[in-house]
Symmetry: C4
Subunit: 220 residues, 4 copies
């Protein structure tokens, strides 16, 4: 708030700006993830029926949609967790950082659509691939985002061990690669493809958070 | 933000991390609850009619949906209040803590679906039971979450009186038990089952907040 | 976060708790208002048409829904502003405070439903009255909430001038009274009733914020 | 929270108030933008089909809606970024500031409606113009908002260079002018009009953020 008062405050812009700008973009990111996670359930339309027997049948018929819901919740939840973990390394903010965040969100917000498409057409390979391509693009943006932030310590803490930077980089490359393999596999088996999407996200993000934890324990 | 700069900051990871990580997960939790609470109303579709008489009739016909709305708002509101109260005890954060929070949210987000199903089929036992099972799973996750956080003071304040820890634990076990009894009772009476769901939540969470208040008054 | 550590922190519970508890309830309140404001637009379904002429006609036909949107946005926006202004006086938190906030939100969340009903049936007195009753209940809860917080300085700053407390109280009583008059007037004229709802909210909340501003200017 | 306690706190109201009031309005703004961004995807209804061939065809048929989604996401994202950047200059808050924010949000929330109308009727000039008018009104409100905040340093930092104030002012006037040109151009070419809307927003906001960055680099 007091950023501009040159006479009173001589600290460099990026550092000061970080407190507010990163808080605002984080609020937007958390908000978008919270809404995307919650919109997933809107695709499961509750049936109205007059006979008790029929209700149970219809609930069973909702299984593909419930499956798409749980799958997408896990994937979105872990993507949020990965994004949040990485933000701990960021100590500066600039315009490209915010642009890349918005670009990432653009494909996060599409996931409820891809999930709904999947829930409607779980038996179709093309629905599985639309879902995979959505994840693949989001994953590649996250990889490029890390590249941007970490190269020559542009936005991250300069004291951060380069081995950590490289580990994170490698993991953020492996995640979209697993999505790509999932897309390829979906030509043979839809369920194998979907399992790879979920596994890729869970394993990748778990690795990211493990790197983060390790880096701290070593320092103490 | 300055977490990683080992040379400048030697405090243990978990403690420092708490400030940011818990704030982020709390923003997500509050966001998801706010959206889930608001989505409840989307299930009550306002009718369009040409005669004044008809509008009143249709409004009366909406009673089951309005009932499901108020019931679910109370339950979701209290579940949020319970979750928020417990977070006052938490002074550390780790990955399992965040995973369990996401798992809890996965079943919180399902409540608008279960509520809509209930509003459409208030006269069906199976809708009542789907609703109850949803609450039961959410309640059990919350119990396990507390177990995880409190056992050997993993994430909670070590100065916290063990009697308080046990009181909270017992209450978090009683809540899903009341949901279970509600499910059983719904085989005989749907309304008795639903009342038990609401009462279980309200009484349980009121107990949790009472424990919290008491623990503070004793210390002052 | 460090609330419970009796040995390290001896300040009274309510004061300390305020920082976190009020921040959390404010996040929930802001979130619910943000979502309710945004859901209003979901009721205006964009038509699909093949002829350019028809599109303009359909847009004109949407006028009642656009009117309901703008009316409700103004009312919800001002209700948020009033609620936010009042929260500046609050220095403590307790369970009843949070219960009353949740109860207030329960009727705030209903406003998108009442607005949609109004947009669908702008020509029906009963839709106007359902809307008015919704506002009336929300207004009465806000009045009771202020009563609870201010009586014997339960949650507000004890240094606050009692004349300010009484002015706020009077205004929070006038708002639902204007809603009541609006409901009565709607039996004669729907538009007069709706104008009274909006005017009641705008004038009432403007008065609340004027009291707040005045109280500060006097002190400086 | 401790604003009113005259005896303990003598600093001028506006300054103190800023911390809380601006945080609250920012939370509301971020929340509304997050929801508006996410609601955009709700307009793309996933089709259900029985044949694999048909699914691909339907996905291709969704192209106009996906186009409207990406266009609106970019526009809304940049409008948020512009609004957020400007808020760094603001060091005070008053009622008109909050009213103007709410008025701005009133037309931000309408964008998902305009976007859905556009997605349904991409081939109609009138849909393109409704979209443009929506942006135009939002742009003019933002211009007036800056006028209000900056004239005689009403709410902004008095140390802020007047040349910066005038640059921001000029840019906020150019943005709605570009929207106006876009509306005029849409009579000849719909796509040229839409491109002008997006370019106007992206170039305008990029300019706003460039001014902000520059002002800081000069000071260091």
């Amino acid at each position: 708030m007091k950023l501009i008062s040159g006479s009173r405050n001589k600290a460099p812009y990026e550092y000061l700006d970080n407190d507010i700008s990163n808080r605002r973009i984080e609020t937007l990111v958390d908000g978008v993830f919270a809404i995307a996670l919650t919109l997933l359930v809107l695709e499961i339309k509750p049936p109205h029926t007059d006979s008790e027997q029929k209700l149970i049948e219809i609930l069973i018929a909702l299984t593909p949609k419930l499956f798409a819901y749980f799958l997408s919740f896990i994937i979105l939840g872990f993507l949020w967790f990965g994004h949040q973990t990485i933000s701990h390394y960021v100590i500066r903010s600039d315009r490209t950082h915010i642009f890349l965040n918005l670009l990432f969100l653009m494909f996060i917000v599409l996931i409820p659509f891809s999930a709904a498409l999947l829930g409607e057409n779980l038996h179709h390979q093309s629905a599985t691939r639309v879902y995979g391509i959505n994840l693949l693009v989001a994953g590649l943006i996250q990889y490029l985002h890390w590249e941007y932030m970490s190269s020559r310590n542009r936005l991250i803490d300069p004291d951060l061990d380069r081995r950590i930077v490289r580990s994170v980089q490698k993991t953020f490359l492996i995640i979209p690669m697993l999505y790509g393999i999932g897309i390829a596999v979906s030509f043979m088996s839809i369920s194998a493809g979907l399992i790879l999407y979920a596994l890729g996200t869970v394993i990748g993000v778990t690795k990211i958070t493990a790197i983060f934890h390790q880096s701290h324990y070593h320092q103490v």
